[in-house]
Symmetry: C2
Subunit: 336 residues, 2 copies
């Protein structure tokens, strides 16, 4: 049935130890036998059983990638970028969708740990901090991505979310907006973005729109629309809305359109992430860009150096957001 190392050994008239050695290129073996063994391996179409070797503690060259929501283009683009760099370094990925769900997170780390992945990449939204700590304790390579995590030491590459929020607010304020609504989900990264946003407001003696609240339960266009409804039917209607990601921002412009409110003339909207959706929507979204490409690269570099044991200190790589101006934000003078 399944061809094992024994079959190869028998066919090549050597011991399994020898076969193992040529496979793993360990120990010294004569050229002649090496060639013979290799030929037999070829002929029999043998490939070692990863499970068995993993059982012996060998690395699997597989890393687990936990993503909260594949439907959010930011995450699918991030996954894509991580995978691309990973391939270059000869790593494979198994992607699991945690759905922002505590139990699924747990289930999947357990599963993948048992499958002995070489490491974990945990994307933003992974809220199960105890579990992360546990992994660290067990010396499983872990790097978190796209989130800040100040509580304890963990490898991470994150965006300077604070700065992102600050950037968004500054841009709006510069253009004369003083009455700004915010839409966000209650996530760590968003809290940082809001802190930054707040900071910029304060520096300009401005305050948050009173209706502000962390209402959305999900990151979706639908959620964005609902939240927008609350703002737009307010007497004190904001002239601009900051949505904590492009998906939500898309919901804002959709909802505005439904209500006959013109973006950007009647309402400016700024998003976050700079995913493909920012260019699909009409008008194209002004947004705070995350350097998704660099994130992928940095994450994998970090991961590999951890796996190789080149790191004993834990590192945090902070990437900078940038403002991408498109057509959904406009100066206040134009509308009022």
């Amino acid at each position: 049935m399944k061809v094992t190392i024994y079959d190869v050994a028998k066919e090549a008239k050597v011991s399994i130890a020898t076969v193992s050695k040529v496979i793993n290129e360990t120990g010294r073996i004569s050229d002649k036998t090496r060639k013979r063994v290799k030929k037999v391996i070829e002929e029999l179409g043998y490939s070692p059983n990863i499970l068995a070797s993993a059982l012996m503690g060998k690395q699997t060259k597989t890393i687990g990638l936990l993503i909260p929501d594949l439907a959010n283009p930011f995450f699918s683009e991030l996954a894509r970028s991580i995978e691309d760099y990973g391939q270059l370094m000869d790593y494979n990925f198994v992607i699991c969708n945690t759905d922002y769900n505590f139990e699924k997170e747990n289930k999947y780390v357990t599963l993948l740990k048992q499958k002995s992945v070489d490491g974990f990449i945990l994307a933003s939204g992974f809220e199960n901090l105890e579990r992360v700590e546990e992994l660290m304790k067990e010396e499983v390579p872990v790097v978190m991505v796209a989130r800040d995590l100040p509580i304890f030491s963990v490898n991470a590459v994150a965006l300077d979310d604070f700065r992102g929020g600050y950037l968004a607010a500054s841009h709006l304020i510069e253009l004369g907006h003083t009455n700004i609504g915010i839409i966000a989900r209650d996530l760590w990264s968003n809290r940082e973005r809001l802190r930054g946003f707040h900071q910029a407001l304060q520096e300009n003696q401005l305050k948050l729109h009173p209706k502000f609240d962390f209402i959305t339960e999900t990151d979706s266009i639908e959620a964005g629309k609902i939240m927008t409804g609350y703002y737009l039917e307010d007497d004190n209607r904001p002239t601009a809305i900051f949505a904590c990601n492009d998906l939500l921002a898309a919901g804002v412009v959709k909802k505005a359109k439904e209500l006959g409110i013109v973006v950007p003339d009647d309402l400016s909207v700024i998003g976050f992430d700079n995913t493909s959706i920012a260019t699909i929507i009409e008008p194209p979204l002004t947004t705070i860009a995350q350097p998704i490409e660099s994130m992928g690269r940095e994450v994998m570099n970090l991961m590999v150096s951890i796996i190789k044991g080149e790191k004993n200190e834990c590192s945090r790589i902070m990437l900078l957001p940038t403002l991408v101006k498109r057509q959904s934000v406009v100066a206040i003078t134009k509308n009022k």
Copy 2:
């Protein structure tokens, strides 16, 4: 370090066989010992090493999901739906991105097979047919999804792509369009869609636009824009374009917009898939809907019954597409 079955056995003062039995609920053991063992398992936080048990031929409750492109919302939504139903049946998923790439497909089936997944779900775009046949021969449960595959017997749940194409063409023709462009990638499912499209044209004594060709190399908005350029700068400009998926269709409306051509007044466009993108784009896309939800359900039902060995015949489940009318298609009288 890692707690094994031996630790549990020692702590509970029984043999590993007993522990194994309570875990797998096989054999008869007294309530008293069962409880004791369970308690120890709890205390020690023991969980069996899946690799080791898989090595013994036990099922892993994990199924491999090979997706060509996570960035295409159709696939991410499909993955989502499969996962949702799978969870209900207590299955876990590892998702791999094949990138429509022959070698990656190969690499990942090898990888996952070695990791002993209980089965494979292969999504449309998986072109490595020999490999599929090989899996079937080895009696690995396989089901293909969202593609037709007439060459040999394989379990599949597919869309009636032919009918989808037919539907699209009929709708356009009904509204008076006679000069229609097509944009597609050279994929199996698309060939079917085009056959159906063709059929409808023929029934109405119509012909394909002469510029038609399978040009796109990727499914992306960008590719859609480029292709659209070719059509729109033609003297014999089509009055409607059928894009074989929503991503491409989005490219069409984007490009038209850039050229100052109004959709739908100057150009109707019809997509395929009915993904979220169809509602994001402006105007909302008229499109042929795939029943993504049902697909996920059917796929998992099929997979589970195969795994359980309830099936020895191979089945093909054919799902029907439907036309979803939105605002990107309009009758020809309006423009000419």
